[in-house]
Symmetry: C2
Subunit: 202 residues, 2 copies
DNA sequence: AGTTTATTGCCCACTGGTGTGCAAATATCG
DNA sequence: CGATATTTGCACACCAGTGGGCAATAAACT
């Protein structure tokens, strides 16, 4: 058999993509698994990445860039109310949710928790800031301090994303954004916001 | 040195406890790590458990029993309103949250996802039922279907529990229960419930 | 056509975790 | 004090994953 050269460039990208899929499913996937998922042989992976850690590093870099790019979208707006800010935040980050999840999965094992925290810091800081603002303005009624509430929101949204990935549910982010608003206790604002922009899917 | 016989019974229990701690921290902990954490040598672990899988199995059994016991507390009540039911549910499960988390951590790797799902099924089913009832009665205003919302709540509460474990925050479950009520969109009920029973810690 | 280049297949060595056998050490119990 | 039970230390074989060397192969480019 020995299929050789497919366009050559795609290969690296396909390996990276397969690594994302496989490591997202199981952080302990072997290079053999990943290579197989990419349609190549294990030996070929070493032609594009120095080793497992390099592969993971490349994956992290890609995810970090996607995340940073998505964050840049939300960074712009001026002083709108906290509820709108949170909604914009969730909607902007929703498309990169899978990359976000991969980073979290890679954290304890392949990447240092420190490095992942560093990548995720801007997103988490922004979320915390929004929550803190909303609570101070009295728009968010949850009594839980911003930091824990931020972590809770993170996990809540990832859980919803997982349901979408699993096919259990379907959402383009608008429903999840509303859920986030409700979770922080922004009842009135939630209705206002959804009336303004969201498509009525229910 | 070769310290021999400590009361003998404690050993097995200590290994089990250490396994819970270590595997909770990192599901890939080696038996060497676990043994060391338990204050014994790796070889000793094999004197109490047939192997890694047996150890994990024992851990799962213990966790399952604790969970089942906690659930039995909530199973009793008759037809009270959904908000109260959810609050009781969270408060009852809060103390076994760590066991719950261990089971989830062990799922993808050491135990089959199937076995873990089977253990967790009663808790999840009850949560889903409560949510469904609350939504039908119009007490829970979240539009997200019960199953995804249940998963989201699960992760939200575990995130809060992690914060408590990490020392970032402190809660005996009452704050988290309120957060859960708010998250499902039970604003009015939340106030009513907390006024009735929760201790004002803020 | 011929050359280049990526991929493959098979080889090997190294590491880390697992599971086990067996003799020695020692705390507890009678 | 002696018998018992348990833990320990060290031996080993085994397996899976990693990383890399090297020749053969076949697509792509000229």
């Amino acid at each position: 058999m020995t299929r050789p050269r497919r366009p050559a460039h795609p290969t690296r990208a396909r390996i990276l993509e397969a690594a994302g899929r496989e490591l997202g499913r199981d952080p302990d996937s072997s290079l053999t698994d990943i290579a197989e998922a990419a349609g190549v042989v294990r030996r070929t992976v070493y032609a594009h990445f120095a080793g497992r850690s390099a592969l993971v590093e490349g994956l992290a870099t890609e995810a970090a860039e996607a995340l940073r790019h998505a964050l840049a979208t939300v960074a712009a707006p001026g002083p709108d109310d906290a509820a709108t800010a949170l909604r914009r935040f969730v909607l902007a980050l929703w498309p990169v949710g899978d990359r976000y999840r991969i980073l979290l999965r890679l954290a304890p094992q392949d990447l240092g928790a420190a490095q992942v925290d560093e990548i995720l810091a801007p997103a988490r800081d922004m979320a915390t800031a929004i929550i803190e603002r909303g609570q101070r303005q009295g728009v968010f009624h949850t009594r839980i301090p911003p930091a824990p509430l931020g972590r809770a929101l993170e996990k809540l949204l990832l859980a919803l994303l997982d349901c979408v990935n699993a096919g259990t549910w379907s959402d383009d982010g608008t429903q999840s954004a509303r859920a986030a608003l409700i979770a922080v206790g922004a009842e009135g604002s939630a209705k206002r916001v959804t009336a303004g922009t969201a498509s009525p899917s229910a």
